[in-house]
Symmetry: C2
Subunit: 522 residues, 2 copies
């Protein structure tokens, strides 16, 4: 069955009131809307109610109604004349810890009108979410963090409106997807209990709110929907991702992974969904000590190493002189080092193979990725053993989580129909490299699908297609969160997965282990 | 079946979150409340959500929840500790055109804690509602009227809180009953189209609103319910009256009448309700030209006339020297004048019987009620022929409306089980007098029941008993508004009803027409 896209705008033509049919304006409108939308309750925003009689009369009782929902419950948030040429828009927001992305959407056509992004203004208070959660321990700290994000969003909204030549009043709806802590901070709600046993958020399923109450300046009758989270470590951004990936609609079982400092995973199909999350450490997000950096101009994002000459070819973002390495670069680099034998299956640098490409420093062995003379920093860009150890723990955590969740439902990773990798970072990972180091399972490459910003994608879907609200409800109801029990079994799997690609190479048949480099007894 | 009174407060004891049961605070609370209240959606006010985690923990997960409803849809508006000794209260408001009455109610026990009233602060702009509706033609006028009532309510609320030694935060709910124009002005909504064909209000069924948005300063998460109106001329005050009278629950058909400048009538039983309203003119509310006044000290409220001597005995409010006559007094006076033969069945003063009690003035014949030497004004208090003519039109309109509505459902007025008279004015009318002049039907006196302030009574019921919300929904759904068609048939009835008591005396067998006073051919 094909899903027809249904916008949040409903056109209604009311019969004009007469002496024989003198139902009040609002009741007349609501009765008609209830019939058209097949619902039994529609709330009207009070501000809108005040404007209603004049709008209805000036439009001769034919109007466009902009609606939104608090799950099953409709709210009328705007009424415009069919002759009004102004755009009717909504704003999808991916509320990232690091980066916030806004997309302006035409609610009539579903077209994307504009996209812009900015660094999360809370970063100066704490680059990582944990620091921010601690900072929000006091009401003052919470309010400061809240005001930072709200103010910046308002500034950005103004700028977008100027670029698109619309007024803020033309933005009626807002869909916000973010991790649990970020959405708590956005709503001004304490995230503090999330990091204290038993680690619970204040709210998993916030009601659709008035943007005015959130301090967001769009249409004064505007409403914001914040994607529900499944728990402290599985946020609305992932729920938006599930919506976007549509794994919940398919018969075949698929997996969706968001790779980052936390690895969030959901596995399932049109019958069930199991989610879990676990710490993978910062290494996968380029949190390597020596040369790690965010994806930005000059960051090495792709690496190849000639297995014969060990010559490193590094691609950088914008082809700028290399100044560091980002997440996808690190995974490429580790894979290439391993495949060329420079790193052994224990993840250790092997000087007997690396030759002059490694040097000894006070911090032990390091591998020179870009020598000083070619680098943008005039110093050697290097990766050290500690970085590699950290990476091996991170990739092992990632793989162990995948193994554990699939084992919990009796499914072998090889049986998965599709392996979705979410997030901007996911889009840049070379799955071949991730497989080579044993971070992702050894599936045919065509099974890997990069979703891009699936959080923004899901938020956008909700604004373009009102039926998505029901889908979110389905996802929310269907999803089971599995607590990752870090027990002996998990630790055993983890220890095995720390090897490159794994202690059991039969799990990674496509990965060719360098002849001169076999595991030595530890 | 006995109806158990259910308060708006629900005590919940939640299981404490654990690692094995880490549902978020809000979701944990809502799941439990949904189960206890047997509903599938409960909204939480955002301000409350922010305070939730600390309240839950400080109360060890056992709390009192203060809820309210937007018809079928629940809203959580307050959470308190069971150990908090503060009162949890609500405020019932009778929003009269002339007088506003507030009653503070203990939401736990349903007890009435305090009552106070004040003149509607909009009176200086227009004593009657029509003038105010015209004044609200401009946005500025509308806002001025709105601010007047809101400001005065806030002042009064502060004063009540001081008297009762509570904080405004201890008031969580508000139930407002008023006529359609008054509730529109209270919500800041244009009433203007109500007086232009086809005479429709903006809204019949307002959603339960945030008091904050209305500008009312009670608990910042407080909610206000405004009783729905049936139409421009049949307001929420009457719907509250129906709730209070309980005629919608009884098997026997009864009638409820609010006597005033507008006569609002509802007839029905537990199966159906028919409502109508019509202009009765100001005469019934003491809008008589010469000596009419509001019920206040010095107003004559009861009159007897010795049929032999024609001596007038007038009772005044507070036994003050008479300075005028109020509505109930006018009806008594007219009845006594008629029964003593001073006024004939056409409603005309009969000088041949009245003798020295009438005198001729430039305005025609007048009857002296209180001579100058006994009056508080040092002038004769008189009623003139024009006043009597106006009264005869008003009482005829009242009776014709009653006849028409009962005829429309094929019921004879004599078949009514109970005749409820609503309103403060209704409480003071002597039914015997009203029957004598043919304003009310000639039923056994025990069938007449004065309801007092049924608007305030209904609003109070809603606050003491949450099941009343469902009853309001039932009333709203069951009621049919009948447009009073002023056709030839109506005019014929009206002409007959202008006589004292009626052209057909068989309709008023209990009224003894004075022997010396029979109708002369007109």
């Amino acid at each position: 069955m094909e899903n027809r896209i249904q916008s949040w705008i409903t056109t209604v033509s009311l019969s004009r009131p007469t002496l024989g049919d003198n139902t009040a304006d609002a009741d007349r409108l609501v009765i008609k809307l209830k019939k058209q939308l097949r619902t039994n309750q529609i709330d009207i925003d009070l501000l809108l109610l005040k404007k209603l009689p004049d709008i209805l009369r000036s439009c001769n009782y034919s109007v466009n109604c902009i609606l939104f929902k608090n799950y099953e419950h409709w709210i009328l948030t705007g009424i415009t004349s069919p002759n009004d040429p102004s755009l009717i828009t909504g704003m999808a927001v991916d509320l990232g810890t690091t980066r916030v992305v806004i997309r302006l959407i035409d609610l009539v056509s579903g077209d994307f009108l504009f996209e812009s992004s900015f660094d999360n203004p809370q970063i100066p208070i704490g680059p990582d979410i944990l620091t921010r959660i601690h900072y929000a321990d006091t009401l003052q700290g919470l309010e400061e963090l809240n005001h930072l994000i709200i103010r910046k969003l308002n500034t950005e909204i103004s700028a977008i409106c100027q670029s698109c030549k619309i007024r803020t009043e033309n933005i009626y709806l807002m869909a916000v997807a973010g991790n649990t802590a970020m959405t708590h901070l956005f709503m001004g709600i304490k995230p503090n209990f999330m990091i204290r046993e038993p680690y619970i958020p204040v709210v998993n399923t916030p009601d659709t709110m008035e943007t005015e109450k959130l301090g967001i300046h769009i249409n004064p009758s505007g409403r914001a929907f914040v994607f529900p989270n499944v728990g402290s470590y599985f946020g609305g951004d992932l729920v938006a991702g599930i919506l976007y990936s549509q794994i919940y609609q398919k018969e075949e079982t698929a997996i969706l992974v968001d790779v980052g400092t936390n690895a969030e995973v959901v596995i399932g199909n049109n019958n069930w969904l199991i989610a879990c999350a676990g710490a993978a450490g910062p290494a996968l997000e380029s949190g390597v000590a020596e040369m790690g950096m965010m994806a930005a101009p000059g960051a090495i994002d792709k690496v190849t190493i000639d297995p014969e000459t060990l010559t490193v070819t590094a691609h950088t973002i914008d082809n700028a002189p290399p100044i560091g390495i980002c997440g996808s670069g690190v995974i490429d680099l580790a894979a290439q080092l391993f495949l060329s034998g420079v790193v052994d299956i224990r993840g250790k640098l092997n000087p007997s193979i690396a030759g002059s490409h490694v040097k000894k420093t006070d911090n032990g062995l390091v591998f020179i990725v870009t020598p000083a003379k070619e680098s943008g920093t005039q110093t050697d860009l290097i990766i050290n053993q500690a970085d590699l150890d950290s990476l091996s723990r991170s990739k092992a955590a990632m793989y162990t989580i995948l193994e554990t969740i699939s084992a919990s439902v009796g499914i072998n990773l090889s049986e998965l129909a599709t392996f979705y990798v979410a997030g901007t970072f996911g889009s840049f990972i070379n799955p071949r490299s991730a497989i080579s180091i044993g971070m992702l399972p050894d599936l045919p490459l065509e099974k890997y699908v990069a979703l891009g910003n699936s959080s923004l994608g899901g938020a956008s879907m909700l604004l373009s297609d009102r039926s998505a609200m029901d889908e979110i409800l389905k996802i929310k109801d269907r999803i089971t969160y599995m607590e990752l029990n870090v027990n002996q079994d998990f630790m055993n799997r983890f220890s095995a997965a720390k090897f490159f690609p794994h202690t059991d190479p039969s799990l990674f048949p496509s990965v060719k282990i360098h002849s001169g480099n076999q595991a030595k007894p530890v």
